[in-house]
Amino acid sequence: MKSLAFASRTRKEVTRDPLTLLFGIGFPVVLILLISLMKRSLPDMPNDVFGIQGFAPGMAVFGLSFISLFLGMLIAKDRDTSFLMRLFASPLKGSDYILGYSLPFLPIALLQGAVCFGTALFFGLTLNIHLLSGLLMLLPVSLLFIAMGLLLGSFFTYTQVGGISSILVNVAAWMSGTWFDLALVGGAFKTVCYLLPFAHAVDTVKYAIAGNYAAIGPHLLWVLGYATLLYTGAVWVFRRKMKN
């Protein structure tokens, strides 16, 4: 009950910020529109990267990376304004905070994904049951970005979170294989990209949408592994902050 009350407050704070709509939903949609229209005019654009079946999952994951920014800034602001001090003096437990900050982002992630895929349908994304699987695969991916947001908000100030999150959003975009084929670059760059979770996140959603469920496993494991690791770290840091 307490964690749900806290989650309701988090949801209101985030969804009432126009930046959430602008960046989390608007930005990926605009990019899908732009790239799809460009591809119609420039047929030479590589289909394996900018084809809507591959580009839409990339944009969906890109949209989720803003969750780290929204959540990190919310937590940092709570800390900066003493709101978190007020909450820490209440009988809330560590788990109530983690759930309260995390839960509202799951439906937000689904909404972001639905809008993204919905837009992509106009540009040739296939409408079938696999699209639903792709949408569901966005949930573990969102956990990854929620955990990052928890960590950022616990460590950094409000202004710092803004800067660091933009780096994160860019890293997530450039190292996920959304903008170019990682195999084309190859070498150490590709290895590093696949040591990070972002390319795995895009591949997970991409394979789900394609109905290639057998290929999802290893990529999903990477995403879940990172999410677990980051969540554990975030919970540990948050609990330490609560004690001091």
């Binding site: 304004t81 003096a89 004690k243």
Partner: protein, 244 residues
């Protein structure tokens, strides 16, 4: 009956001793003002009493419950209005109150009922639906105290509640705080000596982490031989004189 019994409370941050062997007894229903310059140890004392940071040594009992061993029970019976205005900016006045009541275990119906009571008591009813970021500084402080009272605490900590307010807003808050006297135990920290003199049953003056004097205004003036509380304060917080 004793509301707060502090026994040898000490807090060290590496080399610096923020609070040094504090002993103090505050009666149930008493309004106790804690005075001191910046860095005197007032806020650290309040943070320890609220369970926000653990004492290095010593303990305090709040209505018989130890802040070291029974932090959860202590948090159920206290509330705090922090130094800076600590409200959720994108939530309405009513939503802030309901949210705070629910954090302390109230059901939706109970929270709504208590919110109505607080809105009426703090003259905020006509602004109930407005976002708190639209309120003036004085109204935000009033809301902050209402949020602290909605959980019906037995002990209330007010950390510089009138800091930065204009004369009228400060006087309005004084009236509200005076109205609470005798009903709950209140610990008030302030930089304004006239505020402490006007509101408090007893005053404690801290300096460099130690409690220098405790008593009514008259008792403090008598003990220090000073003509006014301000003179006594300056005398007790003069680093050279105190060291000598």
């Amino acid at each position: 009956m004793t509301g707060i019994a502090i026994e040898g409370l000490t807090k060290r941050f590496r080399e610096r001793t923020a609070v040094d062997d504090l002993h103090l007894s505050i009666g149930e229903g008493e309004l106790f003002a804690l005075l001191g310059q910046n860095g005197a140890g007032k806020t650290t004392t309040i943070r320890m009493l609220c369970g926000l940071c653990a004492p290095t040594s010593g303990d305090a009992r709040l209505n018989g419950r130890s802040i070291v061993r029974e932090t959860g029970a202590v948090k159920e019976m206290i509330n705090v209005s922090p130094q800076e205005t600590a409200v959720a900016p994108k939530l309405s006045v009513r939503e802030n109150l309901v949210f705070m009541a629910q954090l302390y275990g109230a059901s939706q119906a109970q929270a709504n009922e208590r919110a109505d009571e607080m809105l009426a008591a703090f003259s905020l009813a006509d602004r109930a639906q407005e976002k708190t970021k639209a309120l003036s500084g004085g109204m935000q402080r009033r809301l902050s105290i209402a949020m602290a009272l909605i959980s019906e605490p037995r002990i209330l900590f007010l950390d510089e509640p009138t800091l930065g307010l204009d004369v009228r807003a400060r006087r309005d808050l004084w009236k509200l705080i005076e109205g609470l006297k005798g009903k709950i135990t209140i610990v008030l920290t302030t930089h304004y000596l006239e505020e402490a003199a006007a509101l408090a049953d007893r005053i404690g003056i801290m300096h460099e982490g130690r409690m220098r004097v405790v008593g009514t205004v008259e008792e403090i003036e008598r003990q220090t031989g000073a003509a006014t509380l301000e003179e006594a304060f300056l005398q007790l917080t003069d680093t050279e004189e105190v060291s000598a």
